[in-house]
């Protein structure tokens, strides 16, 4: 009887999950203002400094071990906030790319596809960075691996977005 109850409960929970997914699908739209606010909160220069291995080496050479661990943990936690913002930005890029992909103009559609792919890669790198930074925050004595791929991916996504807006401007001027 317990097993019966567990199976039925499991199926009902899953059913509720699928119902929520279906209901939220229509609301999964890009909120442009929210997306821009996310981008505004990104201080990439500060983030680059936070995850710069040279900065870390400098701090290690100047600070006592226990102080360095404390600072390293704090820096990892601060960097996590930036990674979270980058991760959210990647979702907005993906949505933006998807909308552009549906354009009847082949050039804009191709550009949209590139943006969507780049956004997915950015999200992957952001998830990877989140795991690494959490490990660093938990075990500051462990050597941290550089987050260069994440920053490179962000630069690429940003470049593609700017290229796309140039393309859109040229299209609107031509029409």
């Amino acid at each position: 009887m317990t097993a019966t109850f567990v199976f039925i409960l499991l199926a009902l929970i899953l059913l509720a999950v699928f119902a929520v997914l279906a209901a939220r699908r229509g609301k999964d739209q890009t909120d442009l203002d929210h997306a821009l606010a996310q981008l505004r909160s990104l201080d990439i220069v500060a983030f680059r400094n936070l995850v710069d291995p040279l900065e870390e080496d400098f701090l290690r050479s100047r600070l006592p071990a226990h102080e360095f661990k404390k600072i390293k943990r704090e820096r990892a936690e601060a960097a996590l906030a930036y990674v979270r913002a980058l991760s959210h930005a990647s979702l907005q890029f993906a949505r933006f790319g998807d909308v552009a992909q549906r354009s009847p103009d082949p050039a804009i559609a191709a550009s949209g596809k590139q943006i969507a792919n780049s956004a997915v890669n950015l999200r992957l790198q952001a998830l990877n960075a989140t795991v690494r930074l959490r490990l660093t925050a938990a075990f500051p004595a462990l050597p941290a691996r550089p987050l260069r791929p994440l920053l490179e991916q962000y630069d690429r996504a940003q470049y593609l977005m700017l290229k796309h807006s140039g393309l859109m401007r040229a299209e609107s001027r031509a029409s």
Binding site: A3, T4, F7, I8, L10, A11, L12, L14, L15, V17, F18, L21, A22, R25, G26, D28, Q29, T30, L32, A35, L36, L39, R40, L42, D43, I44, S90, L91, A94, R95, F96, D98, V99, A100, R102, S103, K113, A116, N117, A119, V120, N121, R123, L124, L127, Q158, M161, L162, H164, S165, G166, M168, R169, S172
Partner: protein, 251 residues
Amino acid sequence: MAQWFNFVYYYLWIAPHVFLVAIAGIMFVRRLYKNYPIFFAYTIYETFEFLLLFIYSLNGHNFGSTYRYPYIATLLGSTALRFGIIQEIFNNIFRDYPRLERLATISMRWVTGLLVCGAILSVFYASASAPADMMIGVKVLDRAVAIIQVGLLLFLFSFSRLFGLFWRSYTFGLALGFAVLGCAQIVNWTIGLLSLTEQSKYFLDLLPMGVYHISVVVWLGYLLAVEKPVGPTIYTTQDIDRWSGELERSK
């Protein structure tokens, strides 16, 4: 059986298959069978399966042992096609994302492994307490299969949501319909394993039939809503300027 029961029973048995024919027709006209060949085959297969079983039933073989064998044989075909459809949904979601497709394939293999283990456990647990009967065995196995299928669909929904992937209307509808159907099958086969009176069994039959009807309506609804976009179809130049302004600033 009461007249209303017979009416509901036959409605729920016939109507979804009429809708399935409509789905196959729409897919053919819109050439969607190119993207979803297995689902297209499934709609045709289910229609022929219905015709076969319905003729059997009309000839007085309803629920007898002669009905049982074609029922099990056609159920096997449906189950195999449903796995094929899940693969088809997977291919359609990740086709444009080669890097993500590799990661999703590896993750899906692990998830399938875990789900198969869970399904095997559920079979062992149920077969220890259930009486030895072929139909009981079918129920236990089909519940295990439903667990795997629902689990795989949940994985697809979660994984694509994690990466902000957009699902086309009919892809979403297809997955949603099968997910709802899978959940109902888990409930149906679980209750079916209990010792029920003959009358209760008849009433319990209405559950999967009703949910199957809902799933078919979901497929049809999403198929008809295929052209309806979710969210903006295009950003205005003003929007683009705001985006690029922010991006330039954060460089």
